[in-house]
Amino acid sequence: MINPTEYLPKSYHTRLSTYWWLTRWAYLKFILREGSAVFVAWAVIVTLLQIHALARGPAEYAEFQNWLRSPLVLVVNAVSLLFIIFHAVTWFNLAPKAMAIRLGGKRLPNLAIAGPNYIAWAVISAAVAWILLRG
C-alpha cells in the first residue's frame, strides 16, 4: 500500500460485491459446482435414512419407500441427481490438473487421466446396479 503523500492524495479501493458470483458465467458455474456439495450431503442423508428404515423392519422400510415416492422428495432427488452428476463430471475433468505425470519427457494429456476415471465410473456403476438388480 502506497501511503498517501502530497502528490498522491489517495487511491480508490473497490470492494468485491457480495454478488460477485453473478457477474460472470464462469463464476456462477464455479458456485454451482461448489453448491453440488450440498446435494452430495443430501444423498448421504437419504442413504442414512434408508439404512435406518432397513434396520427397523419391513413396515418401516415400506413407509420409507412411500416417503421416497412423495412428489416433493422425488423432485428434490431428481435435482440432486443432476447436481451429483455435475459434481462427478467436473471432478473427473479437473482431477488431471493436479497431476503432472510425465512419460518420456512429455506431460500426459488430461484425457489420459480423465478417461480411465470415466471408465471406472461406468464399470463401478454397472457393478452396483448388477448387485441390486439381479434376482
Binding site: 461448489e34 456439495a37 450431503a41 444423498a43 442414512l48 435406518h52 419391513p58 462427478a88 452396483v128
Partner: protein, 117 residues
C-alpha cells in the same frame, strides 16, 4: 520460519470424499431415489436388500459411502461460506459446523450400520 499448515489432512478427506461421491453416489441416487420409487426398475425388495446390507463388506462399503462424502461437503461448504458470503470472521464457527457435522454424520452412520439386524 512458519510451521506448515495441517490443511493437507482436510484436503485429503475432501479429495477422497470427492472420488467416492463421484463414483458411487450417482448410481445410488439414480436407483434408490428415482428408478425404484418410480417403478422404472424392480428394486431388490426388503428381504434381499437386508441380506445384502448385513454383509460385513457391505457395511464397510456403506460406511465409506456415507462418511467420506460428508467430509467432502464439509470442506467445500466451508470455503463457499468464506467466499460466497464473505463471513470469514466467523471461521471458527464455520469450521465447527462443517467438520463437526461430518463427524456427527460419520458416527451416526457407524451406529446405524452396527444396528442392522
Amino acid at each position: 520460519m512458519h510451521k506448515r499448515s495441517n490443511e493437507p489432512f482436510l484436503w485429503l478427506l475432501f479429495s477422497a470424499g470427492g472420488v467416492v461421491s463421484a463414483m458411487l453416489l450417482p448410481i445410488h441416487l439414480l436407483l434408490f431415489g428415482l428408478a425404484f420409487p418410480l417403478g422404472w426398475l424392480d428394486g431388490p425388495g426388503y428381504e434381499k436388500l437386508l441380506a445384502i446390507a448385513r454383509h460385513p463388506v457391505t457395511r464397510i462399503y456403506l460406511f465409506v459411502l456415507c462418511s467420506l462424502p460428508l467430509f467432502h461437503w464439509a470442506h467445500r461448504f466451508r470455503f463457499t461460506l468464506y467466499d460466497g458470503l464473505q463471513i470469514k470472521h466467523l471461521n471458527e464457527l464455520i469450521n465447527i459446523l462443517c467438520y463437526g457435522g461430518a463427524v456427527v454424520g460419520t458416527v451416526l452412520a457407524a451406529y446405524l450400520l452396527w444396528s442392522i439386524p
